[in-house]
Amino acid sequence: MDNLQLNPDGSLRHFLSIEGLKPALLEQIIETAASLEQVAERAVKKVPVLRGKTVMNLFFEPSTRTRTTFEIAAQRLSADVINLDVQTSSTTKGESLLDTLKTLEAMHADMFVIRHRESGAAAFFAQHAAPGVHILNAGDGWHAHPTQAMLDMFTIWKHKSRFDRLKVAIVGDILHSRVARSQIHALNLLGTMEVRLIAPQTLLPEQPESLGVHVYHDMDQGLRDCDVIIMLRLQKERMQGAHLPGGDEYFRCYGLTEERLRLARPDCIVMHPGPMNRGVEIASSVADGPQSVILEQVSNGLAVRMAIMAMVLGSGGESGA
């Protein structure tokens, strides 16, 4: 798994998870994204790096913003983009996935952007991908959503410029969040001073401390002196189950209000991967307030996805063709 996403020279071949990557590579993604940001402000909003390449968006699970930003990112790199809505079939996973991959490879795609409800789906594709074919993970089950994590790191870097003095709180449904898992790995790799998880016991994975974090069940305590607050979406479908009381009570205990935000540092930024449940995990006045960088995260997602695509397709693995 660790080596699967790297070429022998250490460059990125696939982008599947933050785990197994070196800090220098994460920093390179951030710096490359910073170089690509200005493309959006020019007369011609494209650079020619992926000219003649074909990117296939393969979404087995619905998504609006992730798929759209991947699509725009690929187009801004001059790639041709094909969106495939793949209905999740009930046929056996291994066979059907492999068939799908091989069929699409036969159409000479150079890169697949994959979202799938099963953890490990992107890695499965990467294991079976032909040489010169690259896989990007756009979210697999509860496992990982590494491009979201990197756009969050880019957003933090733009506001705070370094990680080693930061206290970062991730609040909410961490158990079911592939975003949180990827964020925790990225924050730790980049040397964040303290990563805090704020959640009820029922929404935390087992032994969360093993991830290199401090756990808080009391939100007021956890927010104190934070530089960055990352709110997670409460997945409403989980609220019917045993995990949680009703939405009102959740908001009372773990909703981010203006009052609570004042416990953090005055220059603390508020992030959310979207889509938001206003009034469930975050108050509208905070989501739309001066410390919110939620919409900026969306724009940053473009630059980061462009950077990762350029790094992967521009990596050494396809020479000789």
Partner: protein, 177 residues
Amino acid sequence: MIRFCPENALNNPLPHIPTLLEEMASRIASLPRFAHTAPLMVGIQTGGLWLAEALHHRLALKEPLGKLDISFYRDDFSRIGLNPSVQPSHLPWTVDGRHLLLVDDILYTGRTIRAAMNELFDYGRPASITLAIAVDRGGRELPIQADILGCRLEVPAGQQIKLSGPEPLRLEWVAHG
């Protein structure tokens, strides 16, 4: 005047950059194209940007210096991959209808200049582009030449020169490891 340096063996001294800059600056100032409107100067990362900074200072240009990183425009991108230390390009003005002065340190195959011109045109349509180069080492693969040239230098096959800087700016041979 363009100075033709004699054939340089490895142990011969390389041209003195401040002297070249002096001559280049005076030739830029006397170009008819820039008689009424000062050029907008653009330096190519990294060496070209250092030279552009020095020329910009000497010519006392009022408009800020633009910088260009052509990493995303290289024609060998899919072969050698993305430059891991790419820097943002930044042109602090609109290029439409303006006379640009593009500065780079060493002119060799011409591919960097082609990439730079492609990138400039993605910002708009300049009235003209003038190319200023410190050292032309020959070996062109594209029909590109400098308008303002510091000097020509014969570099033996297999040898490389590079500009080190920013302080002091000097040419040096690249050692082969």
